[in-house]
């Protein structure tokens, strides 16, 4: 899960790899804040799979690539 300077740099790095999914960094920040916001709260409880999937869905990270496992 890496950060790249530009599309050109990312495509060069991916040349010898099977590509995954790309999102702009501002959307990554949105995702990180939704995902990790409660992580050090003294009242933290584990997210369920459905809670995490809802975060991805809300940020329009959909399709097979962003589908969490059921178990």
């Amino acid at each position: 899960m890496n950060l790249f300077r530009s599309e050109e740099h990312m495509q060069r790095w991916l040349a010898s790899r099977a590509p995954g999914a790309t999102i702009p960094v501002d959307r990554l920040s949105e995702l990180a804040h939704a995902w990790w916001d409660d992580r050090v709260s003294p009242d933290w409880r584990p997210h369920t799979r459905d809670q995490n999937q809802a975060i991805l869905d809300r940020l329009r990270l959909t399709g097979d690539f962003w589908r969490l496992p059921n178990s």
């Binding site: 790249f4 300077r5 501002d26 992580r39």
Partner: protein, 147 residues
Amino acid sequence: MDGDDLSLRNLTYARLLERGRAPTAAEIAAATGRSLPEVVAGWERLHAEHGLVLDRVTGEIVMANPFSGVPTGYRVQAAGRWWYGNCAWDAFGICAALHADGRIETSCPDCGQPLRVRVRDQRPDDPGLLFHCLVPAARWWDDIVFT
């Protein structure tokens, strides 16, 4: 995750925040009055439930997501300290978890040049950067260190 393990997990995170680094099992045992084997067994259960990631040899913390227990290529300055993140997602996650603005320092995997991003009010100051995730969500925990 039962109540005892949840308590152990939350105490482990609290100690991480106090010290600015991942605590050792011995430190948690001393802080809680639990025996070292009790802490190790509890951490193992948390590892199995993805609550922590342990080094398979030493049994110590490698990841307390989004924080890394070991130095990485993602350094984050937030809430008055420097931290290590496990990846780009976790680097932003440290700002999120601490509810703080921050500065992320890493390098472009292609060219190796430094990348520095300031995060203010949850927004990065360089919107031209791109995040790439190689591994599909269904396989993130197959090998979380690689992911």
